[in-house]
């Protein structure tokens, strides 16, 4: 069955403040959607609410993955159902090695008693690290601790490659990456493109979209998707900024909490 991810009228609050004001979006397997939008308009909030971050409260709407109710699931269940979020600010966890973490994540998807063998795991991990041109020492480093911004992003992609998700959300995966790393990361994403997998890519820059060609581009303002189009929309935003969108829609302040 082809993957289908449905967001319908999603509203979410943080500490009582409404940030998402009704998001509608459908992502099918094989599609790449990009979300752009000025700072503070709710892009990361959307990603966090979909993943189930405990700080965000969903107040309205539905989210389904292949017909299953995502909002009913705990965070770990969402992940095992096939949702993956590469975070804008990944956590640092001292004392837990990257490889122990990755192995736990893989084994969480397997039945007790059929855990991945250590040798097979190491082979897989090292293979993917090589694709991402990561120094093998990162397997033994503590999870994200002291990683540079770009190293953290690369480590998020490593996890994506190893966990084989159905829906991938990348929140500013390009921030902090140098040009070479951007190409490597984009290449990692492109190798994952398939009919079974959908992508939601949050970015500020057209540059990433040169490497990962989106099928749809959405603009977010004031906690809503205010405009959608094809790749040409991203190009126009890159060239002209957001003013024309605001003008078109009569928006003065695009951040959340300001009503149109």
């Amino acid at each position: 069955m082809a993957t289908k991810f449905n967001i319908d009228g999603l509203k979410a609050t943080i500490e009582g403040k409404e940030i998402l004001k009704g998001i509608n979006l459908e992502i099918k397997g094989g599609e790449i959607h990009a979300i752009m939008g000025p700072n503070g308009t709710g892009k990361s909030t959307l990603a966090s609410a979909l993943m189930g971050h405990p700080k965000y409260e969903v107040t309205d709407g539905n989210v389904t993955l292949d017909g299953e109710d995502v909002l009913e699931m705990a965070v770990d269940e969402r992940a095992r159902a096939g949702l993956f979020l590469a975070m804008q600010y990944p956590s640092e966890i001292a004392g837990v090695t990257n490889s122990d973490f990755l192995r736990s994540a893989i084994n969480a998807r397997r039945e007790e008693g059929s855990e991945i063998s250590l040798i097979k795991f190491i082979r897989q991990m090292e293979g993917k690290m090589k694709e991402l041109e990561m120094n093998p020492e990162f397997a033994h480093r503590y999870l994200n601790e002291g990683f540079s911004g770009g190293e953290k992003k690369r480590n998020e992609i490593l996890q994506m490659l190893l966990l084989d998700p159905k829906i991938v959300i990348l929140d500013e995966i390009d921030s902090g990456l140098d040009i070479d790393a951007l190409k490597i990361v984009a290449n990692g994403v492109n190798t994952m493109r398939s009919e079974e997998r959908g992508f939601l890519i949050i970015t500020h820059y057209q540059r990433l979209l040169n490497y990962i060609k989106p099928d749809f581009v959405h603009v977010m303002m004031q906690g809503r998707i205010v405009k959608s189009g094809g790749p040409e929309l991203a190009e126009r935003l890159e060239n002209e900024g957001y003013d024309w969108v605001k003008e078109e829609l009569g928006i003065v302040d695009e951040t959340v909490g300001q009503e149109a």
């Binding site: 705990a74 992940a79 956590s91 001292a94 004392g95 736990s104």
Partner: protein, 434 residues
């Protein structure tokens, strides 16, 4: 309020015991003096824990255990801790006396001594007498005095000048009889430019009454100029625990302490380095885990006398249920200890709302030309970290376990013997796995 201190043994019995163990006159005298002091001295001052209410009287009586021919005669839980290879060096104490010991011929030929303290007193009396109770003194408080009066079994390590002991010396201290006094004394002397690693385990079985017993132990380490001593200890006893560990470090000497206080009973422990010499250094890593109603007072302390001396302290405590821990870190820099540096961190992780933790970093500095720093924190498992791990599919309980393990990992990975590391991991698992 003064109450008549009830001593666990009377003078005559102690004198007779000393005699029956063939102890020299100086030692009998020391024991009897200490017993008298125990009757006069107060309990040590332990901040924020009322140890006067703890069960600190049930010492039992001296019971020598018969020697064993092979380690297979020991309880199974112990056997995984030791591997008897040609080259291994092992000593086992059971209750009040040593039951097994083995030192490789190679080390013996180099003049290394590794035996129980009773035997050392018979064979190297003068050497022992010169050091015994000079770092931890018998008149410090009632508990130290009681230890000096009652100590038994124990370990004596002597490493001659320039000798490098490559493999760790391992001691196992087993308490499986609640009616037996269990008070090992560990005495280590590392002569100039020598090097040694020592690892011990304190364990008790689930035998009747052991949770009512007392373990009162002392460790004294003498690090001579340029010598390097790594001292690791994992303790997991059901008894109430009192442990004083102290190292005196001379010029350019170095002591490393790696301590796991994984008891089931209440515990007071103080681990201290006296940095006597110029260029001397100390590194302390301590972890502890508390469960149920356990009360812990864990102190690390460095006292700087030497110029350019350096001390590092790193304590991690995980508290569950209604356990409470007072974690003290004391860096004392004396006048004249110029260019000294002392740094410490204490962190407490609380796993349940009733758990209590207190981290007290204390810097006492009497010299201007020094650097010192401290950091302390008390908190819960970080929900942001749990979320991150869960977002990769890891169930909450596993995520929390990974984080807790990670919190303690920097100390566990420093334990010199692989199987002792493993043991510490499984102890942690047993104590902290929900």
């Amino acid at each position: 309020m003064t109450t008549q201190t009830i001593l666990p043994i009377d003078r005559e019995t102690l004198a007779a015991l000393s005699q029956s163990n063939n102890e020299p006159a100086w030692l009998s005298t020391l024991r009897l003096e200490a017993l008298e002091l125990a009757g006069q001295l107060e309990l040590p001052v332990v901040e924020k824990q009322k140890i006067s209410r703890w069960n600190l009287d049930a010492y039992g009586s001296y019971k020598s255990s018969p020697a064993i021919q092979s380690l297979s005669e020991l309880p199974e839980s112990l056997q995984s801790l030791v591997n008897l290879e040609e080259s291994s060096n092992i000593l086992v104490q059971r209750n009040s006396s040593a039951v097994f010991q083995k030192l490789s011929a190679e080390l013996a030929a180099k003049g290394v001594i590794f035996t129980d303290l009773n035997t050392a007193i018979q064979q190297h009396g003068e050497l022992v007498q010169k050091y015994l109770f000079t770092a931890v003194k018998k008149d410090e408080n009632r508990l130290a005095a009681l230890h000096a009066a009652l100590w038994n079994g124990g370990v004596f390590v002597y490493v001659p000048k320039n000798v490098d002991v490559e493999l760790p010396l391992q001691a196992i201290m087993l308490s499986d009889d609640a009616t037996a006094t269990f008070a090992p004394h560990v005495l280590i002397i590392a002569e100039s430019n020598s090097r040694l690693t020592y690892v011990d385990n304190y364990l008790s079985t689930d035998g009747v009454g052991l949770d009512q017993a007392v373990h009162n132990g002392v460790v004294e380490v003498f690090v001579k100029p340029g010598a390097n001593v790594r001292f690791a200890s994992v303790q997991h006893l059901n008894a109430t625990n009192v442990t004083y560990r102290r190292a005196v470090v001379e010029n350019d000497g170095r002591i490393e302490w790696i301590i796991g206080e994984m008891h089931n009973g209440n515990a007071v422990s103080e681990t201290m380095s006296v940095l006597q010499g110029n260029g001397s250094s100390s590194d302390m890593k301590v972890i502890c885990a508390g469960t149920n109603e356990q009360k812990l007072s864990i102190t690390t302390k460095a006292v700087h006398f030497g110029k350019s001396s350096d001390s590092q302290m790193f304590t991690r405590a995980v508290m569950r249920d209604a356990a409470s821990a007072i974690i003290n870190g004391i860096t004392k820099i004396e006048k004249g200890s110029t260019k000294a540096n002392g740094e410490q961190t204490e962190k407490v992780l609380m796993l349940s709302p009733k758990a209590r933790g207190d981290a007290n970093p204390i810097l006492l500095i009497d010299e201007d030309d020094v650097t010192a720093g401290h950091a302390a924190s008390v908190g819960q498992v970080n929900p942001e970290q749990v979320y991150y791990l869960m977002s990769r599919g890891i169930p909450k309980s596993v995520a929390e376990r990974l984080i807790i393990h990670g919190f303690l990992a920097p100390v566990i990975s420093e334990i010199p013997l692989e199987n002792v590391q493993e043991q510490l991991r499984s102890l942690m698992e047993r104590k902290l796995g929900q």
